[in-house]
């Protein structure tokens, strides 16, 4: 039993309605207490394996399945999902959609309540879990006001509250910054010490390198490579790159010491830049009755406070900083989406105030689904133009490589293609300042390279690109400058060495 705690035998699987099979004769055995990492490109079947083990396939997501799966002595196909609740726990990718409660306490006790545990026992267990994971300060709060990292901590705690033997994590770090990934890694390490069997599907590899016992690289629904933990940790960069994996170690490009202070750029240095002036914003609005109060430089509790900042033109600027430090707020204020922030953008001798900022800025949101409105890609681009110009639309689409999808419904495209449609409308709207909010969270290396190529080509076409990101890999690939935001203030704006562009 201990040798093959989880056993997947000759599984073929195809989702209902899709033509291509996702898993092809997959066999896998996982001994008790092993930490297994699943990696490989998007769509290679990692998530499908996770869903096979927690029983969502075949009980929730339907499709054609052949073969057998047994987990801790249960035959998955014949076991009802709720029977597995105390055996297998799953931490999902998106913290937004895995919470059932609206408050942190309710979330942790949700699982034990479902399996009908005694109220006294649940309380004792909640206390144990909270002190074990050091999340005392998160108790008694609304889940909607937590940062991404804090949400993921609660997700881990609520899964652990059921004391499962097996814990599955499906791209758990996608929305986390470096610090939060550090605490996630601590949680995984503790679980490993407790002897739990852990299976992680992940693109970011650096934080797991020393933790895993076994690594599987998947391609098109098959196991392509397998390594032991130590083989994996000592793999050389060239091999990692040739397999299109994200690097095993990341440079400290996000740290304040990288590239040194001597590369800091002072405001006076840039002659012909985009100047941002007087950007103040706070979420803790003072209650008002008649007139709105404008924010001032010396107000207390400002979430954003920028007196003057000059951004170099036609470059890719990485915006970095911890979760919840004001990167998204910064982007939203710059492009004029926060009405109460009345900063001024100055470029080419013109001033843009208030709503005018929306004309020269375009924000590509983290969830692009929110900004696609029409029923075809072409209509989407035409909607952004002042005057409908089909020729120009075709040009833009072909430059982004999505001309063939012109007639398709934007929602029928893949995530990366949707992102391109959003960028196409940004170009069509003649935005000179393009803002990207975490464009590569949850992407594999291959797609990340594509995005970085795209950002560079936007900069080469006389656009200024601001990209908020937690991925050091992306910064390395395409950014000319980094802008660090600390507590809503500009930490520094720094030129990156070695990649100096000619303007």
């Amino acid at each position: 039993m201990s040798e093959n705690f989880i056993k997947i035998e000759h599984v073929h699987f195809k989702y209902k309605g899709s033509e291509k099979g996702l898993l092809d004769d997959m066999s896998l055995t996982i001994p008790k207490g092993e930490v297994l990492l699943l990696t490989g490109a998007s769509g290679s079947g990692k998530t499908t394996i996770i869903r096979l083990i927690n029983g969502l396939i075949p009980h929730y997501y339907q499709g054609d399945m052949k073969g057998s799966v047994s987990v801790a002595g249960y035959d998955i196909v014949k076991t009802e999902l709720y029977e597995l609740a105390g055996v297998v726990g799953t931490v999902f990718q998106n913290p937004r959609s895995q919470f059932f409660s609206v408050d942190t306490d309710g979330e942790i006790v949700f699982g034990p309540e479902n399996i009908g545990m005694d109220a006294g026992k649940i309380k004792a267990r909640k206390k144990d879990i909270v002190s074990e994971m050091h999340i005392e300060k998160l108790m008694g709060r609304s889940l909607f006001e937590l940062s991404g990292g804090e949400k993921q901590s609660i997700a881990c705690a609520s899964v652990a509250a059921l004391l499962p033997e097996i814990i599955l994590l499906d791209e758990p770090s996608s929305n986390l910054d470096q610090g939060a990934i550090g605490s996630l890694r601590e949680v995984i390490r503790r679980w490993k010490e407790q002897g739990k069997t852990i299976i992680i599907s992940e693109h970011r590899l650096w934080y797991l390198k020393d933790l895993v016992d076994h690594v599987i690289y998947m391609e098109n629904g098959k196991i392509r490579h397998e390594w032991s933990g130590s083989e994996f940790a000592s793999m050389d960069d060239e091999k990692v790159r040739s397999l299109q994996m994200r690097p095993l170690s990341v440079s400290d490009i996000m740290s304040p010491d990288f590239a040194g202070k001597e590369n800091d750029i002072q405001i006076q240095e840039i002659q012909d830049g985009i100047v941002l002036k007087d950007f103040y914003f706070s979420y803790n609005k003072k209650p008002y009755l008649i007139r709105k109060k404008k924010f001032q430089e010396n107000d207390e509790g400002l979430s954003l406070c920028i007196l003057k900042l000059t951004l170099p033109k036609n470059a890719v600027i990485g915006v970095i900083g911890h979760n919840g430090t004001g990167k998204t707020t910064f982007l939203k204020c710059v492009c004029g989406l926060e009405k109460d922030c009345c900063g001024i953008i100055e470029t080419d001798g013109k001033e843009y105030k208030g709503k005018e900022r929306l004309k020269i800025c375009y924000l590509v949101m983290q969830d692009v689904n929110h900004q696609l409105f029409t029923d075809s890609v072409e209509a989407e681009v035409l909607l952004s133009m002042e005057k409908e110009d089909k020729e120009r639309c075709d040009q833009i689409l072909s430059s982004l490589g999505i001309l063939e999808f012109k007639e398709k419904h934007p929602m029928a495209l893949s995530g990366g293609q949707k992102q391109r449609v959003a960028i196409a409308s940004a170009i069509a709207a003649d935005a000179k300042l393009m803002l990207f909010d975490e464009p590569t969270s949850g992407l594999d290396f291959c797609h990340m390279e594509k995005v970085s190529g795209l950002l560079k080509s936007l900069a080469a076409a006389n656009n200024t690109v601001l990209v908020a990101t937690h991925d050091p890999e992306l910064i390395e690939l395409c950014c000319d400058y980094v802008l660090c935001i600390e507590n809503g203030r500009v930490g520094y704006l720094r030129k990156l060495k070695g990649d100096i562009k000619c303007f």
């Binding site: 597995l84 309710g106 034990p112 309540e113 909607f144 929306l358 969830d367 929110h370 900004q371 909607l383």
Partner: protein, 233 residues
């Protein structure tokens, strides 16, 4: 004093207030009862430290009342007056129910709600669906805000010149993301044992306190007064 009410009391409040707003007040006594009933959820909102919404509702309701009694009568004519009658009529009539519902949704934890439903022997299917609806309000609000932002950026907040498109542009992305979130949410809830055959337990110990009984009494009395004075006497 512990101001936390039992969810069952809250549901009872909603029931009574909704019934009362459907009967129009005709005598001064009925008006007094109706206004008193509106004051209760307002005071409860203040007790829950939701000052901003309490203030907003109070002002809205007060303006509607003052306008109705001081400036409007059955002989009012003119466009302004008729618009005002429309606004005030709706506000005075239905605001009490809105305030009560707002108070209940905002202050009830999903956990409490589920165990209250269980105590009342409501079938799990109905209880879970209602709980998901409550869970979804804040999510819809968040999604709606992001979509509004995206529309502003495209300059199509008002349909880009075509008002007929205004609803379409807003609803399509909202529906897509709500369907997606709902799907992921159910998957996550199921893996944590929701919907099993085991009887669900709850850490929230529900007890009807004296204060609960008092409110139940007050609301029953109010409903009684309305029924008796309007339909019996």
């Amino acid at each position: 004093m512990n101001a936390r009410l039992d969810p069952r009391t809250k549901l009872y409040m909603i029931l009574i207030v909704s019934a009362v707003v459907m009967m129009s007040a005709t005598t001064p006594l009925l008006w007094v009862v109706r206004i008193a009933m509106t004051m209760i959820p307002l005071i409860l909102l203040v007790a829950e430290k939701r000052y901003a919404s309490a203030l907003r509702f109070t002002i809205l309701y007060a303006i509607a009342l003052v306008l109705t009694f001081c400036f409007l009568s059955e002989e009012s004519t003119g466009i302004v007056q008729s618009l005002l009658i429309g606004y005030c009529g709706i506000a005075v009539q239905f605001l009490p129910a809105l305030i009560t519902a707002w108070y209940v949704v905002r202050t009830t934890k999903i956990d409490e709600f589920m165990s209250a439903m269980q105590r009342m022997h409501v079938p799990d299917g109905i209880a879970i669906s209602l709980a998901v609806v409550m869970r979804f309000f804040p999510t819809i609000k968040e999604e709606y805000a992001s979509i509004t932002d995206a529309m502003k950026m495209r300059g199509i907040a008002f349909g880009g010149g075509r008002p007929s498109k205004m609803v379409e542009y807003r609803m399509i992305p909202l529906l897509f993301s709500c369907v997606n979130i709902g799907d992921e949410l159910s998957a996550a809830a199921i893996t944590r044992g929701l919907g099993g055959k085991v009887k669900r337990t709850s850490v929230e110990e529900l007890r009807l306190h004296a204060f609960d009984w008092l409110l139940v009494l007050v609301f029953t009395a109010a409903a009684g007064i309305f029924v008796v004075f309007k339909y019996v006497l």
